[in-house]
């Protein structure tokens, strides 16, 4: 198959002088939005105690541990701004992402020991479940940096119990073990109760000499049978026991290395724990990338920075998606699947870091006089029509057969509507696409370049595809909502307007409500809201899209559960004809 992949047709073109001139403002606006997002990321990084205070105790912070552990230049953070329960700490208190350790991709997650010594907080288990799901989807190790003081007790009702509560990750760790996916844990500090299970539920435990893990910690074992109240006598007893357990907490290395042997390794130095993890990661099963690559890796021919000029932040402005994609693929090459059919969507094969990947993306703008063929109105990119849906269904199915990971790019206003669209079976074809995705067993990632809207957000590989979507990224231009806020205001209040008008009442109060609803939609669809609520897994700068694509593709091909020999692939042959 070398002739198919080594040199694919080139696409894209250099920016022209006029294009550079007129897109200066767009570039500045996107960079300004990215700077605001970066400020929010800094707040999360600086949550809790300052680094100096943690270091003065002889401990590293989670960020320092990550920096030491992860191969330079490979860290792709996820969920940094995720805070679905709106914690006052500004974080779910776990930091996670994709990164390489000893040359192998892993999902890496650690408690932020600067914030309440790594306590369980509301929303945290949802964050952890995203990390365990990612590990499962990509079939790559999950590496924990445990340092968990247990539940933030005043908020326990918000996260302790329930189907996806703080105990669910322990079952997920067991599930990963069941699937043959290693979960490694470097363990630091005091880890009582929930922290104890965070420590014991992984497969191999690497302990720091001062750490402890236990069913219950000092706080619990120093308690006593409830008397219904506290008095001076009980207070004195508590003080005495608390002093003792602070000095000699349960579950120290003397117990769990010397006695139970739960700790496979113990290290004198904090960095020793991380060296232990690095050493183990080098032993994890992983293909040499050469096994799966279809060509030598190559950067895109055109600079990724061009995307700041090619993607208009103004939502109504059309653009050329193919030009953007050409900034993201090896040597700006591709093999387009069924060009000309279903022109509102791009489908094609590309190379990312030498690996074969499939891309699907919304094209924008006017689609020509005779499209969609079933209606007498003009077709516009961003919308989905019959041909586009049929083409994507075919493409996804063939990718599933050929085991090619899919990278989706969304900028969609939805699926075409009206009786003509219904007759063209768009409702059925949308659900068929969900079925087609579900029938595959290949990892997918999504970048919501600009708009994710209506059911198209689901059918275009959105995060609702739980078993397939590894992660979803947003950009400074991202907006996600069921429909545009003004459309929603009309849908909600149009009948009311008619009623009020017929009753001879003033319309202004209804108009005010319509404006309020539209504003509410604006506030609740922007990148920071999407990141906080988890509609996307991370907002990234335009010039890092390629980096995440490389991480995704490299991770997907590290140890795939199923492979298609290159010479048995059918999709490239269908494209060639």
């Amino acid at each position: 198959m070398r002739p198919y992949f080594e040199k694919m047709p080139g696409f894209g073109s250099e920016l022209k002088k006029g294009q550079i001139k007129r897109t200066e403002k767009n570039l500045e606006e996107i960079k300004a939005q990215e700077a605001l997002i970066a400020q929010e990321v800094e707040k999360v990084k600086n949550a809790g105690f300052p680094t100096e205070k943690i270091n003065a105790r002889g401990e590293m912070t989670v960020w320092q541990r990550l920096e030491y552990l992860v191969d330079p230049g490979t860290w792709c953070p996820l969920h940094t701004l995720y805070n679905p329960a709106d914690n006052i700490e500004g974080t779910t208190n776990v930091i996670d992402g994709l990164g390489k350790i000893s040359g192998r991709w892993a999902v890496i997650i650690g408690f932020d020991n600067k914030v309440m010594a790594g306590a369980w907080l509301p929303g945290q288990s949802e964050n952890i479940l995203r990390a365990t799901d990612l590990s499962k989807r990509l079939n790559i190790p999950l590496v924990w940096l445990v340092n968990c003081s247990g539940a933030k007790l005043p908020d326990q009702e918000k996260f302790y119990a329930n189907r996806r509560g703080a105990g669910t990750p322990f079952f997920r760790h067991a599930e990963l073990a069941q699937l043959g996916i290693p979960v490694l844990a470097g363990i630091y500090g005091t880890n009582p109760a929930g922290g104890g299970y965070q420590s014991i539920s992984p497969a191999v435990l690497f302990a720091h000499k001062n750490c402890n893990i236990a069913v219950g910690g000092a706080g619990i074992v120093s308690g006593m049978a409830p008397k219904g109240h506290f008095d001076l006598e009980t207070a004195e007893t508590i003080i005495e026991k608390a002093k003792h357990f602070k000095a000699v907490p349960p579950g120290r290395v003397e117990i769990h290395y010397d006695q139970t042997g739960f700790f496979r390794y113990v290290f004198e130095e904090e960095k020793g724990v991380l060296d232990g993890l690095k050493d183990y990661m080098a032993k994890i099963p992983a293909y040499d990338p050469v096994f799966h690559r279809v060509a030598e890796p190559a950067p895109p021919k055109y600079p990724v920075e061009d995307i700041y000029r090619l993607l208009p932040i103004e939502q109504k402005t059309v653009y050329d998606f193919d030009e953007i994609l050409s900034r993201l693929t090896d040597n700006s090459e591709h093999m387009e699947f069924r060009p000309g059919y279903g022109p509102e969507v791009y489908t094609g094969l590309v190379k990312v870091d030498g690996f074969l990947a499939a891309c699907i993306g919304n094209r924008q703008g006017y689609l020509g006089k005779n499209y969609p063929e079933y209606a007498d109105y003009p077709g516009f990119g961003g919308k989905l029509y019959r041909q586009g849906l049929i083409k994507m269904n075919e493409f996804i199915t063939l990718c599933g057969r050929d085991k090619i990971p899919i990278i989706w790019f969304q900028d969609t206003t939805g699926i075409d509507v009206g009786d003509e669209a219904e007759k063209a079976e768009l409702l059925g074809l949308g659900q068929s696409q969900i079925y087609s995705i579900q029938q595959t067993d290949i990892p997918m990632m999504l970048i919501v370049l600009r708009k994710g809207s209506a059911a198209a957000h689901y059918v275009l590989g959105g995060p609702t595809a739980n078993r397939h979507n590894a992660f979803t990224l947003g950009t400074a231009a991202t907006e996600i909502y069921v429909m545009h806020g003004e459309t929603a205001a009309v849908a909600t209040y149009s009948r009311r307007l008619v009623k009020e008008k017929e009753a001879g009442k003033p319309l202004e109060p209804i108009i005010d409500k319509m404006n309020e609803l539209a504003q509410d939609y604006r506030d609740k669809s922007k990148p920071l809201f999407c990141a906080k609520t988890g509609m996307v897994d991370e907002i990234i700068p335009m010039n890092e899209i390629r980096k995440y694509m490389e991480a995704f593709t490299g991770a997907a091909y590290q140890n795939p559960r199923a492979i298609c020999p290159h010479h048995q692939m059918i999709l490239p042959r269908i494209i060639k004809g």
Partner: protein, 73 residues
């Protein structure tokens, strides 16, 4: 030699950036057409001078209508 700027689609002119006798460069944004809630910018095809403008903001146009003429020597 002159080059015509044609409407790539039917819609309403919502922005006109050109003035007669103005010097323009290839790929300057000439005007914007709105259709189906989306704005499609139309770009100047060559370096030159605006010789003629045949439409104004707010006007509806049909696909392939001549919107402006650029004189490029």
């Amino acid at each position: 030699m002159s080059e015509e700027i044609l409407a790539p689609l039917a819609g309403k002119i919502v922005k006109m950036n050109l003035q007669v006798n103005q010097n323009v460069e290839e790929d300057d944004e000439a005007l914007v057409i709105e259709a189906m809630k989306m704005e499609t910018p139309v770009f100047v095809p060559c370096d030159g001078t605006v010789k003629e403008i045949r439409v104004k903001e707010g006007q509806d146009v049909e696909e392939d209508d001549v919107l402006a003429v650029i004189f490029n020597g």
